[in-house]
Symmetry: C2
Subunit: 466 residues, 2 copies
Amino acid sequence: MNLPMEKSILDNRQQAIAALRERFGARLSTVSGVRDHHAKDESWHHPHRPDAVVFPESTEDVVEIVRICAAHQTPVVAYGTGTSLEGNVIPHLGGVVVDLERMNQVLRVSADDLDVTVQARVTRMQLNAHIKDSGLFFPIDPGADASIGGMAATRASGTNAVRYGTMRDNVLSLTVVLSDGRVVRTARRSRKSAAGYDLTRLFVGSEGTLGIITEVTLRLYGIPEAMAAAVCSFDSLEGAVNTVIQTIQLGIPVARIELLDEVQMNSLNRYSGMDHPVKNTLFIEFHGSNIGVKEQAETVQSLASDHGGAEFKWATQTEQRNALWKARHDVTYANKALRPGCEIWATDVCVPISRLAECILQTKEDLRQSFLTAPLVGHAGDGNFHLGFLIMRDDPAELAEAERLNERLVMRALAMDGTCTGEHGIGLGKRKYLLAEHGEAVSVMRQIKQVLDPHNLMNPGKIFPD
Amino acid sequence: MNLPMEKSILDNRQQAIAALRERFGARLSTVSGVRDHHAKDESWHHPHRPDAVVFPESTEDVVEIVRICAAHQTPVVAYGTGTSLEGNVIPHLGGVVVDLERMNQVLRVSADDLDVTVQARVTRMQLNAHIKDSGLFFPIDPGADASIGGMAATRASGTNAVRYGTMRDNVLSLTVVLSDGRVVRTARRSRKSAAGYDLTRLFVGSEGTLGIITEVTLRLYGIPEAMAAAVCSFDSLEGAVNTVIQTIQLGIPVARIELLDEVQMNSLNRYSGMDHPVKNTLFIEFHGSNIGVKEQAETVQSLASDHGGAEFKWATQTEQRNALWKARHDVTYANKALRPGCEIWATDVCVPISRLAECILQTKEDLRQSFLTAPLVGHAGDGNFHLGFLIMRDDPAELAEAERLNERLVMRALAMDGTCTGEHGIGLGKRKYLLAEHGEAVSVMRQIKQVLDPHNLMNPGKIFPD
């Protein structure tokens, strides 16, 4: 659904496209199918087609694209795998989408320094396949096989964040193309530095609104000696959540501790052909030495038993573990299958861990009283959880109800000193909550946006409310 | 040594001081002794007296101070404990020093969330004393009993950073007063967030040049079940450094792993009355469960033995451990005592761990050929090490030689893709290297400084080269 634009804007864009075509030839596309493909992400948000899509092969190509677009006041939206969940990459004001798919090279690996530099469109699975013989791995796992550049731009995290941190913690350095074509490298490769402002962290989570990330240097980790995953079902939601809270409070270094409610477990059993009890459930993973894993597992099993948890069902073989986490990652597809034709309105909040049980229980009560269904799944160890409302996008009543429930959820999290999004980003969907969360700090964010992108061409209209 | 100023500037400052005196009465001081006390830090840099010192008791007081100073174009320099090492808090252009000493309250502790909020002038030891009965501790330990606000402003780290990260990783949120009197809280208390730009990390490490930090929310950690420290001396520097490198590469979660060269060990033995072998030495600390600590220690002892390390000498009792780390933290005083009347020109760099041995050996060769003495000590697990040149500040030949050696050290670190400072900050001393390290990224830092402090009143002249 593209709305009519003023003629001067249209002229500008046509001039930008002509200049890009002259420079990039067949790597510039205005074909309908290509534009449609770049009109959407994995969210419920309405698609909007870009005017054109261009496929750079280098940072220098991106510089030229940005310069041409800037000369013609044309928006630029970077695109990785299109797996964002809040409309983050939807070019909702049109313009040029910069699809980085050809920037997919691992540029260097240093096993000795436990770091790697990749082009932005390398995906996390591609990276892990590339380094699998080095004894190292990259742990951040948002579920989708997202691009590293996109994960950095969204400040992604996922199941392993409770142990290994988020993209905030694991990006050592970025190469970024700014709105005026400047190229900056934000940091050196040393593990720490006190030399000047932390531009790395400024661009991590900026969702393409301050510049386009073209290269990323990441921390890597040694593959642990032992890894074991367990499933544990609980009689009550409180029991499951309180097990998580105590695990964190005791400092047990669990690698993953995921909460799935009974609605989610039912969906997952159906989709993945598993036969777990349809109860509130934790999926837990332990990493460490053989002794360490055993010690951690015994402690968490004991906590779980105190809270009405069943005996752990173990997945120690690699294939079993992979099957378990694949099922976990397939929740979106599983949930879509629950209601043919529906979209998933995915939302996420994050609260201080002491408030997690209260936040989830109040949210479940909201859902009990609603006509919408929304499985709940969460990176509970971080205080972070997700709802996925199963909606028909063209039904205004369903959209309104999802919006109402989402707003109640966000306001509840903010009242608990939490955040309106733990990992999906603001994108289009959470813009209206930015001010409620950050207050005066939004004025500082706007100043930074204004000074680095004075013509508002880099993924315009995202993050900030209109 | 204060130079003459233009009359208009002097008039402005006198007006600012008059307005501050009217508002703050006896909490504004222009007494010589008070100004002298705030003219210096613990570095070799030449002192410079502020025009006045003011003692706020609240964020609101700081807002008023900043507004008054802004109205009269008067520089504002925040002051914590004065323990910075690169002239970071020296008011070298004069103006008003804001001494936060009365803002020393722990505002809230949440044992359940493992976090705490403090006013900026709470020191790290004060904080740990305050929470000692909670079973929690705050690990970041730069040596000096620095203020939490100052540690955040400097992006401090220290001995525990190899395990627990730096201030970058452990600050959850800041309250900051900006140059125009706006007050921002940079984040909520949830462990992670993807909501907007990461202002927390922007202010961490900004050295007071973007605003004054008045409150800090920090992560806390459970006190480990077991803690044990060991001393291990080596026949060669390579042996010691390679033990560190392999420990990190194997992912052993050491809590501290500190390298002291034989010059430093001699100094430390004399000052602290210890009798360690005068050899290149590692001080190592292990945190974890009883089993975990034993497992880690056996692995590292085995690595050390492979590299010519002696048997570990253990310090397992709390008093023994404290004595060991007190000796480590006293290196500056120990080094001063080596040469009566001298100042310590402290410098630090940080390199990717694979280059650490090479960097240190080349640096030691420089020192061997120089007439200056400089003990070497380092947070080797981070690739971070320090030299302390023993200089007579009034001897131009010694200053020139220290500067020459420092420049060679910095350029060596940069050539290895490291940083000109791992933890001391840029302050006055490393300004000339900012561009060499960051290139075009400095232009972005300048834009941010310009937009948030357009009249250059917040700790002016720091970080950026003139």
